[in-house]
Amino acid sequence: MRSSPPSRGDLTPELLQTSQWTDELLHGAGIPVHDIPFVTVGGGIGSFVTLDYLRVYGVPTGSLRVLSNIDTPWETYEYLTRVSQIPRPERIRSDSSSRPDNLWGFPSYALEEAWRDKSLRHLRQVATEPIFDDYWTPRAGTVFQNLEREAKRISYWDMLVKGQVRMVRRRVGGGYFTVLTPPEGLSATRRVAFRSRYVHLAIGYPGLRFLPDLQDFRERYQDYHHVVNAYERHEHVYETLKTRPGVVVVRGGGIVASRVLQRLMDDREKYGLQTQILHIFRTFVTGSHGPGVFMRRRGGDGWAYQGFNYPKSVWGGQLKAQMRKLDGEDRAKLYKNMGGTNTPRRRRWQQQMAKGRRENWYHAFQGVVDKVEPSPDNRLVSHVRSDDGQLRQYASDFIIDCTGLEADITEHRVLADLLQHSGAGRNPLGRLEVERHFEVKGTASGDGALYASGAATLGGYFPGVDTFLGLQIAAQEIADDLARRGFCKKLGPLRSTSQWLKWARNKAI
């Protein structure tokens, strides 16, 4: 029998309305308070790498808690990659030295795989990428296995507290209260609170938005079967295509579109299928493009080509240094110049698409979809308007939306609350504005600080936030800021080396 949630210790109207809370206010509401100097909210890759840094800097587990609705840091990432066609044996997008389990990035994944396979193939590839070969990238499975090893080493699960975080509010007298709703049956009260000097938010994507015309179709015709999003389970599409020939419309020009195409094309080859693919690009890139000779990106056949989701030097070189100096309009402009949907130019994908064009079963074209309707024979009709003003109709059996639009940050309750009650503001791209050291601007509370990293902070002084390496860069800035504040000791060359030796020997810390 499921017990109903306890009604004791819940948020009161007074708490909801008061932006800054006193200890008495919580006491009065009967919400138990736990004292922990540092809590991180989310429990995905962003929280993990931040805790990893702090543990390596020497902070004991007793001073750290991670509040999360998932059991392992890779759970959400694994779900998203699996449904978007990157199961464990497939290779992910980021490079060899983006290692969320190893803050030094040495040895790289390629070195590790070379050692394990006793083969120089991986090393040859990293030595010649991206000129003579595709970027070398690790298998998803390798990433997860290593994360598990590191999580054990830093006693991750000793710091994990399960539950849904409802809000973070500033505390009168300094620091913050983070309110958590524990899973049913685990707590005598409906909410518990963590009183801490520091809070870190790494809640991942605030929410996913679907293309409006597709959302409209799904709601109007209650059809969630023929129109799917690549970020949700849609294995039935591939299974149906194995039983009878069909036409699939793919929408989007990013890496997820590449992955979905690869799956359709692999299946076609493997099972001798007759699948026809219609690929609609809203922006159809025909060649190199960019604002000038010093800023031109490769492209062709519809795609903009780029190894990673931003030009590589945003993670450490020239573009990182440049963006760090920009504010407002100037920052938004540089984001615009180097942004845009893109995908890596991988040799295998190029071969598959070339074959599809030759054999007339892969058709890519520019178009904006006005609406999607069911046809009398129970198929889908997309009404597509191209840039030259022509209106055409395309019939298909399935539509796979690979655009992955991200929702506004206010879709996430914790962020919406932060904007409303705690002085947080938006950056030139509309997301959460953070300082160069990832403190959320305007949210300081006494001697406490509130940090955020990940997708919610895109548009700040550092562009590569929503990646493993970006989250590690943020974690380093945060750890160094905490060291300046006296929460931990900064990591110098000697201590770094000795900590690395412990990592290499898998010695628990």
């Binding site: 030094w104 990035g105 010649t128 991206p130 780029q306 070189g317 380093q476 690395w500």
Partner: protein, 147 residues
């Protein structure tokens, strides 16, 4: 590598002064083509070669930085870091042959120079592409700057 201009120069100078120096100290006694030259003189030549790589390198880095501007990613692929050994080695060798490198009277024999130069280059390249990150955790995020 994802260098900035000052990061390039700092990394080059630092690695030549550490890795380059250690490798030179170890390798000079066993380099071929020593003939009857005294060990002290051979060390002197080795150090001058090392210093020349550093000094000329500052100019080379300016050129590399300029060339990098044509790359969309503003990166410097690992392979470039290795292959630039060829033009840099040839230039320095040419200057030694012309006797315009200060500090030595006669240039070293070809085998001595090329083995020394290539081994130092390889060691610096290998350290820059990995082990350097172990003591210096912020180095790779700062475009190769150490200060």
């Amino acid at each position: 590598m994802l260098p900035t201009l000052s990061g390039r120069i700092q990394t080059r100078l630092f690695l030549l002064a550490t890795v380059g120096l250690v490798v030179t100290a170890l390798i000079v006694p066993v380099l071929p083509g020593a003939g009857s030259a005294a060990l002290g003189d051979r060390y002197r030549t080795g150090l001058v070669v090392l210093a020349s790589v550093a000094v000329l390198g500052v100019c080379w880095e300016l050129l590399y930085h300029f060339l990098m501007q044509f790359r969309w990613e503003k990166d410097w692929p690992t392979l470039f870091g290795l292959l630039t050994l060829v033009p840099e080695g040839l230039l320095l060798w040419g200057l030694l042959e012309l006797d315009v490198v200060p500090g030595i009277t006669a240039g070293p024999p070809a085998a001595t120079f090329w083995i020394h130069f290539a081994v130092v280059w390889l060691a610096v390249w290998l350290v820059a592409n990995g082990p350097m990150r172990v003591p210096f955790v912020r180095w790779r995020f700062r475009g190769g700057r150490l200060v």
